[in-house]
């Protein structure tokens, strides 16, 4: 079997972790969202009012919970899987290629799931009641043309950046993630200091959306490239 495909299969072998756990998390977040909505309704909020819609759409539970889990999956996809991949006879290049393939597949799967659920929510008039579970700001406010890039790139972002942290741990031990985390924070702040005036202009001319897409794509490419370089010289002991 092709090395990259074999490495991707190494990750996909854990079907429950890749395909089912994100559904469990989404399901639990949805139930809690509904319960909170019921609580507000019982407290006197008016379902469907502008305040209700605005408040409901600010709920970021699904995005944040899934983001946390996907980042963990990204970390373990390298930190604990890389030594086993070498044991099975994978090359480092094939492992990183397979891991990226798995991340793209997982992101595509989640995009399909969340798109289907969002369309279902919209088609049923927000579950026949007016509950906003998937039609929320962090998932594009019910706009599928925004939902798809948000979920796909967001998932890929979490998986690849998690993988980068896993690779830094594999290469440098506990110092790796600490230095990498501090470095990324400093780099982000310096970037913001340098680009803030143009960001304000971009915001004013409504280009922020595309800037974010480009920035996320750049981070994904950087994370994948850096992972290759870190694992190239990593020693498993």
């Amino acid at each position: 079997m092709n090395g990259v495909r074999a490495a991707a299969r190494l990750h996909f072998t854990k079907k429950e972790m890749t395909f089912a756990v994100p559904l469990y998390i989404t399901g639990v977040a949805a139930v809690i969202t509904v319960l909170i909505s019921l609580m507000f309704w019982r407290a006197g909020s008016s379902i469907g009012s502008p305040e209700w819609i605005s408040g409901s759409r600010s709920n970021a539970s699904i995005a944040s919970w899934l983001g946390g889990f996907l980042t963990y999956m990204g970390v373990q996809s390298v930190a604990t899987t890389f030594p086993f991949a070498l044991t099975l006879g994978s090359t480092r290049r094939a492992f990183v290629g397979g891991t990226l393939l798995w991340a793209v597949g997982t992101a595509a799967y989640l995009t399909m799931v969340l798109t289907a659920l969002t369309l279902l929510e919209l088609a049923t008039g927000h579950w026949f009641v007016g509950f906003h579970v998937f039609d929320v700001s962090t998932l594009g406010s019910g706009d599928v043309t925004r939902l798809v890039p948000i979920v796909f790139l967001g998932s890929l972002f979490c998986l690849t950046v998690g993988g980068l942290f896993g690779a830094s741990w594999t290469r440098f031990g506990p110092r790796g993630p600490a230095v990498l985390g501090a470095g990324l924070v400093i780099l982000t702040l310096v970037g913001l200091v340098l680009t803030l005036p143009s960001l304000t202009t971009a915001l004013a001319s409504s280009q922020l959306w595309w800037l974010v897409v480009v920035a996320v794509a750049v981070v994904i490419a950087f994370a994948a490239t850096a992972t290759v370089h870190l694992l190239r010289s990593a020693t498993v002991r």
Binding site: T13, T80, T91, V236
Partner: protein, 301 residues
């Protein structure tokens, strides 16, 4: 001779630690080679280089004439499971058995099933919660069922009970007979496994001190016991590898075979001599610390 594994002047350093020091090694194709030595001798480091998990700081590592590092065609013919092997989070035995054939083109599913059954590996427990012996069982499944032309077994006995160790010996001998391959096996249970070995490599502090076929290795040293003065007289002019004394008695391991001269001298001095086993040879070379700063003859450790 066709060599499956060759190391040429290989040195591997980790910061200030020299794990391998100018190692040269050749293991013939089809050999079952025992890799012996104390903890920290460099056995796992050497296996790691052979398996392409690591690169030497200096020198060259060849497997069937090619460097293994990042070489997909070579790596597909090597199996190496570490003694402290890590498995992906939430991996169960079924995951291991499902994925291994994707990487091992010669994977034998029937043999894997037999090993799982005979080592009694639990299927409902995550691999990372396995006992030490069960982890060794998984490593043996991966190592043997892969039928890799170069199979590296790193301390496969760790935690195994006597029945499981015997089972491993039986299946290794049977399966290597059915599908010949080169096996490099590191172990501290030398007496139990020495009958398996066609070749022996003995390491100490990053260097290879013995590499030969197993029969020759058993001729490399002689154990001498008797009254201290008589033993000292026997050892005069011989290289003492290890010595210890109890009351007026002394037991010494000296380099060299039990030949007619030695037998004759032993009879004259009234000392007992016998050829050193592989375990005694390994212990003798591993006890170098005590002899390092002392004259080589007549030393009590």
């Amino acid at each position: 001779m066709n060599h499956a594994i060759e190391l040429r002047s290989v040195t591997r350093t980790f910061r200030d630690t020299r794990a391998l020091d100018d190692v040269g090694l050749s293991i013939p194709t089809g050999a079952i080679c025992g890799l012996l030595g104390r903890n920290g001798a460099g056995k796992t480091t050497m296996m790691s280089l052979v398996a392409g998990h690591d690169r030497p700081s200096r020198g060259e590592v060849l497997v069937h004439g090619e460097e293994p590092f990042e070489n997909a065609s070579v790596l597909s013919g090597i199996s190496f499971v570490r003694d402290n092997q890590r498995y992906p989070d939430d991996y169960y035995l079924q995951h291991v058995l499902r994925i291994a054939p994707s990487f091992a083109p010669r994977w034998d599913a029937d043999l894997a099933a037999e090993l799982v059954a005979r080592f009694r590996l639990p299927e409902g427990t995550p691999v990372k919660k396995y006992s030490r012996g069960q982890l060794s069982g998984v490593a043996i499944v991966l190592g043997l069922a892969s039928r890799a032309p170069v199979t590296l077994l790193d301390e496969p006995y760790l935690g195994l009970d006597a029945s499981a160790r015997t089972l491993f010996h039986e299946i290794l001998v049977r399966d290597v007979g059915e599908a010949p391959r080169t096996v490099l096996l590191s172990t501290h249970l030398i007496d139990e496994s020495e009958s398996l070995f066609s070749h022996v490599v003995l390491m100490d502090r990053g260097r290879i001190v013995v590499q030969t076929d197993a029969d020759e290795a058993r001729q490399l040293a002689t154990c001498v016991t008797g009254l201290a003065d008589a033993v000292e007289a026997f050892c005069r002019g011989r290289e003492v590898l290890r010595a210890h004394a109890v009351a007026g008695l002394r037991a010494v391991t000296v380099a060299g075979p039990v030949d007619d001269d030695a037998r004759s001298l032993a009879a004259d001095l009234n000392v007992r001599i016998k050829g050193a086993s592989l375990q005694e040879l390994a212990i003798a070379h591993g006890s170098g610390d005590a002899l390092e700063n002392s004259p080589k003859e007549g030393v009590s450790a």
